[in-house]
């Protein structure tokens, strides 16, 4: 990581931008080229490969992360745009060896087969359940309409998200489940 104070440059003379971004609670200050997409920043600069690249054309949602709590497609966002923002990725779901309710839901309801779409599906679901904690099946289906799955036929994904919604609504035993 470069530490000079003058704006760093690439070998081709492109000016780099220092961004400050909090990913799953950990702060990072990194120099990036403006054209670096958020998904590449996460996978290549931070080595967090849980966020997938599927279509690379804003269609499939495999790259979904939360930007300040909202689900967005990280293949269609430059890293420089998230300066000062907070990002949540699939790597941040499990806490202290305990699965997040959405992960538990996908496990219990067989919400995945190959697993390629799963990180995006789960991040979309987490963002959605934060705004709609008691969704109908139709609302769940609408919420994941920007996420494609080529394996499951969606039925078990919908059940997984419903499982998580119910689990998240359960009165907290001691400690409330962490939604983000």
């Amino acid at each position: 990581m470069a530490v000079e104070t003058a704006p760093a440059k690439t070998t081709t003379g492109q000016k780099l931008h220092r961004i400050h971004v909090v990913v799953n609670g950990a702060a990072h200050d990194v120099d990036v080229e403006p054209r670096t997409l958020l998904v590449h920043f996460l996978r290549e600069n931070l080595g967090m490969t849980g966020t997938h690249i599927g279509c690379d054309t804003t269609s499939c949602g495999a790259c979904t992360v939360l930007l300040n709590g909202r689900a967005v497609k990280s293949c269609t966002l430059f890293a420089v745009q998230v300066d000062q923002a907070s990002i949540a990725t699939v790597e941040g779901l499990e806490k202290d060896g305990k699965l997040h309710p959405i992960q538990e839901g996908f496990h219990q309801e067989h919400g995945l087969q190959c697993g390629f779409c799963t990180p995006g599906m789960m991040m979309t679901a987490v963002g959605f359940l934060a705004t709609n904690p008691a969704p109908t099946e139709l609302q769940i289906r609408e919420a994941i309409s920007g996420n494609l799955c080529r394996c499951t036929g969606y039925v078990n994904i919908v059940k997984s998200i419903d499982y998580a919604a119910r689990k998240l609504r359960e009165p907290a035993e001691g400690k409330a489940p962490d939604v983000r």
Binding site: K15, T76, Q81, E142, A143
Partner: protein, 290 residues
């Protein structure tokens, strides 16, 4: 896919954005939600020398009713769709926001970008034509208000000057006994429209159509008004016969082309059907229904 290199600048306020645009010699592009621009840059169909990020400018994402409805250019589709004023008083705008792309794109995409991009497949242009909206632009020469009929010049081309940014959309307050609706046929959820129809009607005291305005999505080089259909409805009771005549007129004046979303004849027939349904829904809303 990696875009070509570009410089990135964050505009702190509107004046700063205008200054950055003016000094770029036409080589810069405004970046709002990025949901149209970034895909184009990834395909290298767009290679701007610099991007001016306007999303950090404060005060451009509000919704106010102030004699007329004022919508800040930077409001995200997801927020527009949920806004209480929009849902209660301008349901046609909520109809439209709800069918733009998918929920993830809607968390980023802005209404200003949807209009400024001037893609005939975008959904808000037809709705804004039907609502008789206007667009507020700010540039080095000051502010001007552009009637929506004068805004879309060609595919991807608007009346905005190179140093202007769109800051607000203004929509006249709904008249008594008026209502509007937007309907869209899409191949699958999240796709651009095969055809979209926006209809706004105002009824007179006897329940006849005093005025109608109709906008069409993705059946022309820009979103277009179906003026003949509007004319057919004037003074008529909103019965099946009048609606059928308006649908036929809209189909005749639409200019679809055959592409992967279907042959032109098919799209023309979709215009005919959706126009009637949109008017029917607009009339129901004008009568206080939903």
């Amino acid at each position: 896919m990696i875009p070509a290199s570009f410089e990135y600048e964050v505009a702190t306020d509107v004046a700063h954005a205008i200054q950055l645009l003016a000094s770029s010699g036409g080589e810069a592009k405004v970046l709002a939600g990025g949901q149209s621009l970034i895909p184009l840059m990834k395909f290298r169909l767009a290679q701007p020398a610099s991007l001016i990020d306007i999303t950090r400018i404060a005060g451009l994402s509000g919704i106010r009713e102030n004699g007329e409805l004022q919508i800040g250019a930077l409001i995200r589709e997801a927020d527009l769709e949920k806004n209480a004023i929009i849902r209660q008083r301008y349901p046609i705008i909520a109809d439209t926001a709800a069918v733009v792309a998918d929920p993830l794109v809607r968390n980023m995409a802005t209404i200003g970008g949807n209009l400024a991009h001037a893609d005939p497949a975008n959904d808000h242009p037809a709705t804004m034509l039907a609502l008789r909206a206007s667009v507020v632009a700010q540039g080095s020469k000051g502010e001007r208000v552009i009637p929506i009929d004068d805004f879309f010049l060609d595919t991807f081309t608007t009346a905005l000057r190179p140093d202007e940014i769109l800051v607000e959309i203004r929509v006249p307050k709904p008249a008594a006994r008026s209502g509007g609706a937007y309907l869209k046929l899409e191949r699958k959820v999240g796709d651009f429209a095969i055809v979209g129809v926006a209809a706004v009607v105002r009824l007179d005291e006897s329940g006849k159509i005093a005025a109608a305005s109709i906008g069409l999505t993705n059946v022309g080089l820009t979103a277009i008004r179906a003026r003949n259909a509007e004319e057919k409805l004037r003074g008529q009771a909103p019965d099946d016969k009048a609606l059928a005549a308006a649908g036929a007129a809209a189909a005749a004046e639409s200019q679809p082309v055959s592409d992967l979303r279907g042959p032109a004849e098919y799209k023309r027939d979709v215009v005919r059907v959706l126009t009637q349904r949109a008017i029917r829904k607009a009339v129901a809303r004008a009568k206080g229904g939903n």
